[in-house]
């Protein structure tokens, strides 16, 4: 399959994983391996990068690139500070920018996110912002120099799937940076749909880590992302109101 390229870096897998919600590190480890992911996001708050035996050790052992995120930040100021601490601690310029507006919905705050994105780009970061499914904001963030945009399918952890596929298509149409569907994936068909809509990758965590069998669900997601990508490349047939015989009716 074709590679995913973000900021000049190549990935064979188009499934980006999150690490939250797993009952144990071993279960997380199994799920990551089963998912085939090459890029995984880690919340930098409540994590000491120097501590032994943490989730970072799991990623290093599996040779998975770490994408630090700013989960838990409510202001651009918090997010910029967290990104800088992550860069210092992990030696990576990459950051998944996440500035949330309230604890109930965990929806991204567009104004704080844009503000932080501008400042982080200026500071030399490779910025991947988590945003609502807003085509206008996605375009503005791309213009501001973000390396990708990450619209949500539905709120974090909700498993509601892609609530507004039309907007995701609009974002994909306009974008010249990768579009990564982030948040809301509940099961494999959601991930496949994201790829069929033209997203370049899918980021998910809860759908796998809180499944009854995380390793099985990770395997399912891996297959779904591949299938969705192939379907997108193959090009779907037009929808028709009436049947069209697949074998010729006349010789």
């Amino acid at each position: 399959m074709d590679d995913l390229i973000i900021a000049g870096e190549k990935f064979t897998s188009r499934l980006i994983m999150g690490t939250g919600g797993a009952p144990s590190l071993e279960v997380l480890d199994q799920a990551l391996v089963a998912s085939g992911t090459e890029l995984t996001t880690v919340a930098m708050r409540r994590l000491d990068p120097a501590a032994r035996g943490s989730v970072l050790d799991v990623l290093r052992r599996r040779d998975i690139k770490v994408l630090p995120n700013t989960a838990g930040c409510f202001t651009a100021g918090d997010a910029v500070l967290t990104a800088r601490l992550a860069r210092e601690a992990l030696g990576t310029d990459w950051v998944k920018l996440e500035v949330i507006s309230d604890e109930r919905t965990l929806l991204p705050d567009p104004i704080e996110t844009f503000d932080a994105a501008e400042r982080l780009v200026a500071d030399g970061f490779v910025v991947l912002p988590y945003i609502g499914d807003d085509p206008a904001l996605a375009r503005r963030l791309e213009q501001a120099g973000c390396a990708a945009v990450m619209p949500l399918g539905a709120p974090i952890g909700s498993g509601l799937g892609i609530r507004n596929p039309h907007n995701i298509e609009l974002i994909v149409e306009a974008a010249s940076v990768p579009v990564i569907l982030d948040a809301g994936i509940g099961t494999a068909s959601d991930a496949a749909l994201a790829m069929e809509l033209g997203c370049d990758a899918v980021l998910l965590a809860t759908a796998v880590t809180r499944a009854q069998r995380p390793d099985l669900m990770a395997t399912a997601m891996r297959g779904a992302v591949q299938a969705g990508r192939l379907a997108r490349l193959a090009g779907r047939i037009p929808r028709r109101r009436y049947a069209e015989a697949s074998s010729p009716m006349t010789p």
Binding site: P23, S24, L25, E26, V27, D29, Q30, V33, A34, G36, R46, L47, D48, A50, A51, R52, G53, S54, V55, E103, R104, G157, R210, A211, Q212, R213, P214, D215, L216, T219, R222, G223
Partner: protein, 421 residues
Amino acid sequence: MEAYDARESGRTGLRGRLHGPSTAIHLIRIMPAKGARMEVIVGGGIVGLTIAWRLSRAGRAVTVVDPAPGTGATHAAAGMLAPVSEVTYTEEPLLRLGLASLGRWPSFAAELAADAGLDTPAVEAGRGVDLRTDGTLDVAFGADDLAALDELAAFMAKLGLPVERLTGRECRRLEPMLAPSVRGGLLAAGDAWVDPRRVAAALLTALERRGVPLVRARVTALLREGEGEGGAVRGVLLDRAPGELRADGVVLAAGAWSAELADVEVRPVKGQIIRLRSPEPLLSRCVRGTVHGAYVYLVPRGDGELVVGATQEELGFDTRVTAGGLYELLRDARELVPGVTELEVADVVAGLRPGTPDNVPYIGPSGTPGLTLATGHHRGGVLLAPLTAAILLGEEPELAALCAPSRPRAGARVEALEEMG
């Protein structure tokens, strides 16, 4: 090197026994009779002290080493003995261990109370080690939390666990101080809880009464036979006099610090916990709940204390109590029981749970001659302490396999899936 003197650090009853003008006296006390087997237990938390007490009762010669026994994770722990209400997907082995240990607790507490000379019934609110067997009520608020609770109930039913699904009003009939917005709950009537601080104090007293030596020093390394890391373990090196202890066997029960002494995959998992105090108990059983996805529990003590816990943070050996940690605990606790905000704050502390990759402890032979592991109990040290000692005494061969340090890593299953995919 700092001179070792039990008088300096005596917070426990061993003071009298170890009291003496010179360290020589201590050396005499802790040296075993010639020919007798002597074992050193590294770590005086609830796990290490329990092992020492049970081994001593079984006629074995043991010495406990800890610079400050009972002040680590044991001091922070809420003491929930709740294997049923804490069950989660992928953790059935932990459930089996927990149920077995829960079954041991009543007799364990009674024997401990007797050995420690606590002339009170062991199972009564506020007395003995404050063991309570009134169950855990797991409550839900929002519709999402309720759906999660129903899913959990289905999982528990599949496992054959005895839980009762209650309506919101039934929950409030059991616990009138619960917020009116409670939508439903699960009652795990068999779950229990205990005061870990009382247990540790009772264990120290029981050990003192049995004449088990306690050396208040930090173990800096294991004494190895021959060169290098792989040699048989024959004792421990200490950070102060007597400098070292030679032994026929060493049991590593050093909790979150275990990985500093041996090659064992144990990491610290920080937990912040609050102790509130009320003149009248607000609750009559353990209440836990999910509030908009966040998780909190409240544990009532017989003396009016109400424990609110606990965060889970991967921050290495950091034990700072933070504003954010306390805020989240109190925010969620108030959603469950609005009355908590009226209570006095008695204590806030952060402890370090010893976490393993699969959340199951390492109990049994380490693979290195002379070294036995009893560590990595994560959130279950208090619950699993009686079982841990029983396993080391060979009483539970079947369960021992589940937590043997040599158990296979779960990687095999993934590789099988890989081939499928």
